[in-house]
């Protein structure tokens, strides 16, 4: 979506039964209050043009009538006070809480309630918005004010240099606004969430396939290269998987460590050599990372991923293979799929087998742009 269109997106506040208590006048410009009459199924299409949907009245919002496109709008749900976690799970499990992903947030003043639900639904710590008030109108004003502050796009300017740019971005945004830290400059928030949904749908079965038939009590070692704030960590069950993440940005690493205490997150130095022994992981993967690196860095990263993966383990790459570097400031180093496959074969001396390939088309995009490659590492283990 063009940036001028993105900037005109509004924050919609669904007040439901509290509509008479919440007034648009008290909210920042660009916020609009909706009542129960505004979310009748025939009127839900209007949600598709929102930047964020804040749901103040969880009990009366028609979540079950939302389409995938409407669900791509990032949600902020305010947990109703006076109810415990088992009750909220029983009522909102599949329809709401179980569907909240990395780009959605949960607002509550109750820390214990948050922790209990966070563990159950594997939410990241940064998904919480801590409320300091309990009245609906005050809560709406507090959240809208915060969203207003966050709505600043960040772009590399005229000169893009991979490591410097991502370090700066991580330091500036990862701790306070992790969703924005990994935000694509020319996307609106709904596009980010839609891309995440499509990627998640493709990656989920491949993560399961990578785990194979091993039982739950055999720990599975997964490594994400370019982990950012750890948005993919929630796809793995911490009880059976040891999740490790690498990133060039200390800011991102710190945010990931704070959000996902059960994971391990390490800094990737400028030489891009991984601080791990050979054959340490069952799975090494990247999501939208190699595309931001020049060819020499791509080669080093693929080679390192191959080195630290055990024979029989998987390497996965979910990257854009259809793109153009339009300006020096563009963060993309495009590489068509055939060139990338040649690079992988060169970096691994051909000791990989292609297990899965899938082209992905993201919503609002005219092209099949993404590609997911899953490869098995062949060879004999050097260590036992």
């Amino acid at each position: 979506m063009p940036e001028d269109a993105a900037s005109s997106l509004r924050t919609l506040v669904y007040a439901g039964r509290f509509a008479d208590k919440v007034s648009s006048a008290k909210l920042p410009d660009g916020c609009e209050v909706l009542s129960e009459w505004d979310v009748l199924p025939s009127q839900l299409a209007a949600l598709e043009h929102a930047a964020t949907l804040v749901v103040l009245d969880l009990f009366s919002f028609p979540f079950e009538s939302m389409t995938d496109k409407q669900r791509d709008v990032p949600l902020v749900v305010i947990l109703p006070s006076g109810f415990d976690a088992p009750f909220l799970s029983a009522v909102f499990d599949e329809a709401v809480l179980g569907r909240l992903g990395f780009f959605d947030r949960v607002a509550t003043a109750d820390r214990d309630l948050w922790e209990e639900l966070r563990l159950r639904y594997r939410w990241a710590g940064s998904q919480r918005i801590e409320l300091y008030c309990s009245l609906p109108d005050e809560a709406a004003a507090e959240i809208c004010g915060r969203l207003e502050e966050e709505a600043t796009l960040i772009s590399p300017g005229e000169d893009y240099e991979t490591i410097r740019y991502w370090r700066w971005r991580g330091d500036a945004l990862a701790a306070s606004e992790p969703q924005l830290a990994i935000h694509v400059p020319h996307h609106d928030p709904a596009s980010d969430k839609a891309v995440y949904r499509v990627q998640s749908k493709a990656l989920g079965p491949q993560f399961v396939a990578a785990r194979g038939a091993r039982t739950e009590d055999v720990p599975f070692e997964a490594l994400e290269v370019g982990v950012g704030v750890g948005r993919w960590a929630s796809k793995f069950d911490p009880a059976s998987t040891r999740f490790t993440g690498l990133d060039v940005s200390w800011g991102m690493i710190r945010a990931a460590r704070a959000d996902i205490p059960e994971g391990r997150f390490d800094l990737l130095e400028e030489d891009l050599v991984f601080p791990y022994a050979d054959e340490s992981f069952d799975l090494a993967f990247t999501v939208s990372v190699l595309q931001h690196n020049p060819t020499s860095a791509k080669r080093t990263l693929v080679s390192e991923m191959w080195r630290v993966t055990r024979p029989g383990g998987r390497l996965m790459f979910l990257e854009d293979f259809v793109a153009k570097k339009r300006t020096p400031g563009s963060t993309v180093y495009p590489m068509p799929i055939n060139e990338f496959v040649d690079l992988v074969l060169e970096a691994t001396a051909g000791r990989v087998v292609l297990e899965h390939l899938e082209a992905l088309r993201y919503p609002h995009d005219p092209f099949f742009r993404g590609g997911l490659l899953s490869l098995s590492k062949v060879g004999t283990p050097q260590t036992w």
């Binding site: 153009k324 390939l357 899938e358 082209a359 005219p366 590609g371």
Partner: protein, 143 residues
């Protein structure tokens, strides 16, 4: 892209890269589908068909060997053995690898071979026959 618009890409470089990506995916899918290729209208894979063809060949060879052996007159007294001889050595073979009749015939041959080998493996002839490598191979493969 809005849902009600046609796909009209205007950038030739992006279009070329997209074609490359989709062509690669098609090549991958064709390769993957090619490995467990199926006989049209049948649930039997090519690997299974090859196995059944092998079992039929082994059965024919085994029957010929038995008929050339000194035990041939004794074996021929058995009605079941004569039926096997008639069916696999003297009847015209069903041709056409993809026909359902041929498939049924091959599966029957496999069953007959297994039954014959079980009989031969039993005492008193089993221990004697097992001294021959060819018989041990058949036992290994089908029993």
């Amino acid at each position: 892209m809005p849902d009600n618009e046609f796909y009209v890409p205007d950038d030739i470089d992006l279009l070329r890269m997209e074609n490359e990506l989709l062509a690669f995916e098609v090549r991958f899918l064709k390769t993957r589908l090619g490995q467990p290729a199926k006989i049209p209208g049948s649930s039997t894979s090519l690997n299974r068909l090859a196995y059944l063809e092998d079992s039929e060949r082994d059965l024919v060879l085994l029957l010929r060997r038995l008929l050339e052996s000194p035990f041939s007159p004794v074996l021929r007294r058995s009605k079941r053995f004569r039926a096997l001889e008639q069916k696999y050595l003297h009847s015209p073979r069903l041709q056409g690898p993809s026909s359902p009749e041929r498939l049924a015939y091959l599966e029957e041959a496999e069953r007959d071979l297994v039954l014959l080998l079980r009989r031969m493996s039993a005492r008193p002839f089993g221990p004697v026959l097992r001294r021959r490598k060819a018989f041990r191979t058949l036992e290994q493969r089908y029993l």
